[in-house]
């Protein structure tokens, strides 16, 4: 399957490190996600107070997307967002479950419940960057370059999107990992399954 599209930019966040195009932007000492995300917010110059209301999955996706989108010199409001992971919103699901498990200690909260959907992080990115665009959140056993490639190509070919922000954002059992990439008409790296797979593994 051929493509006339390119991976314009990509970002990784894992192991207390944020890297853009494989170059380290931030390397923090080993800690938990909450502490690391605060450090990253500050060090990356993210100015968005609503960040602190988000759940962990949204914080992770938001930070990664922000690095890519604020460095995009040609922002497009119909930049689609196509994300994926394995654990969906299970990290926050457990939190909500803990508020309802015991009848004597029952305190479900809309502020938690709203984050029990994986695509909320797409909403958070769309609000910040004013993206009126196609959204999709997929759950795969592991990173699936084939399906992400097909879906992004289809959106671009049918002109449903002029760019596509794709990738993997996972928060599960204390671990976290984000790999996002921006597909567009221009760039140095061809948009192929092989390249997506290679960059994911960096």
């Amino acid at each position: 399957m051929s493509s006339n599209h390119y991976i314009q930019a990509f970002v990784h966040i894992k192991n207390e490190t944020v890297s853009l195009h494989g170059n380290t932007l931030l390397a923090a000492p080993k800690t938990d996600f909450s502490t690391f995300s605060k450090t990253a917010y500050k060090e990356l110059g993210t100015k968005y107070p609503k960040f602190f209301k988000m759940d962990r999955l949204s914080k992770l996706a938001f930070l990664a997307a922000d690095v890519l989108l604020k460095n995009d010199k040609d922002p497009q409001e119909n930049t689609a967002i196509v994300l994926s992971n394995r654990a969906s919103s299970l990290d926050t699901d457990m939190k909500h479950q803990n508020t309802i498990a015991d009848a004597a200690n029952y305190y479900p909260s809309p502020a938690v419940f709203v984050y029990t959907l994986p695509n909320i992080c797409i909403g958070e990115i769309s609000i910040k960057h004013k993206l009126f665009s196609e959204n999709s959140f997929f759950i795969f056993d592991r990173f699936n370059a084939n399906y992400l490639f097909d879906y992004a190509e289809s959106l671009l070919k049918t002109k449903k999107a002029s760019k596509v922000l794709c990738g993997w954002v996972e928060v599960d059992a204390g671990n976290y990992e984000a790999f996002l990439y921006l597909v567009s008409d221009t760039g140095a790296i061809k948009h192929t399954i092989k390249e997506i797979t290679r960059l994911y593994k960096l």
Partner: protein
Amino acid sequence: MSSTFVSHNNIISSLGCNSQSVVRQVKKETTGLSLVTDERIHPKPFYTSIIPSEKLTESFKEIGVIDQYTKLEQMLILSLKDVIDASAIELDDRVGIIVSTTKGNIDVLEKNSPFPKERAYLSSLGDAVKNFFGLSTEPIVLSNACVSGVLAVATAKRFIAQGRFDHVFITSGDLVTQFIVSGFNSFQALSDLPCKPYCKYRTGINIGEVAASVLVTSKKTGLTPEAVEIIGDASCNDANHISGPSRTGEGLVRAVENAIQEATIETEDIDFISAHGTATLYNDEMEAIAFNRLRMLHTPLHSLKGYFGHTLGASGLLETIVGMHSLHQNTLFASLGYTERGVSKPLNIIEKTTPKQLSTFLKTASGFGGCNTAVIFKKANKNHK
């Protein structure tokens, strides 16, 4: 571009265990909602539409070992089996599978669940379906809030257009659980009565459960009589709020405009709208604003939530299937629960089930995270009246 069709279909709900029997009830304006007392789900009685577990296991034990499958897995497998068997398609690597759900087996997180917590992973739901049928491709689980079911149809079309598959089976479902009901209740979004979409007296939603499955295919041969062609589809985020719909209906307006553009039709060509209509104050108002901006205030419109409640990740697919049968039977189905306009802009709500020659309908859905999806369907068999 080549055509894509929605063909074989199944619905399992409190109203019946196949599309024909469920649609027969809808045509008679019979609701599947009833007042249920189950303190494991909600401390006080609530209106819902639930698939009876005993009936479900009765059917499932003929094809699988009951203790190995959760209630949702049994629902999805039974529903999908009906579609796969009817289609007689060989499950090779040209056949994709999409599972549409918001919460999957979330009930396994409850203290008394006999299943391990790992079953709450949505991918394990996909695996259960894949392994049961011996599918050869990786399942695509789609979890995009309340647009999931209709977005799954658009997604199937996109994977087919991209050449990945010739056929895609979609199965969709969510359960009525303490998890979901407590959450919507914390939003004060639940109605104490059967829901009344777009009505002046609406007070919120009812949560319901169904399993719904379809075959999406690029092959024009062997289509069912009620099959439809997917002629346009689009989604658009509101970029406005994560839990409240846009006050201007921006995302929905753009999604419908884009779907109409792809379909190369005019708004007047749409015979009816199967809208989202959850019966919350804000959702229904947003839709009324959006359809007025789109100049579709005269297009007959219904919400099917009065029959099934809001069935979350299945609702968009369920309502697509009912819409297909509505076209085939040339009958507009009533928007159950509606008596008096309760939105600020006029809409042409279908108040009574009425015969009418039909060929095209628009399905829309909106959900948390600001997502909106619109898909336009046209009768595939032109000689069918």
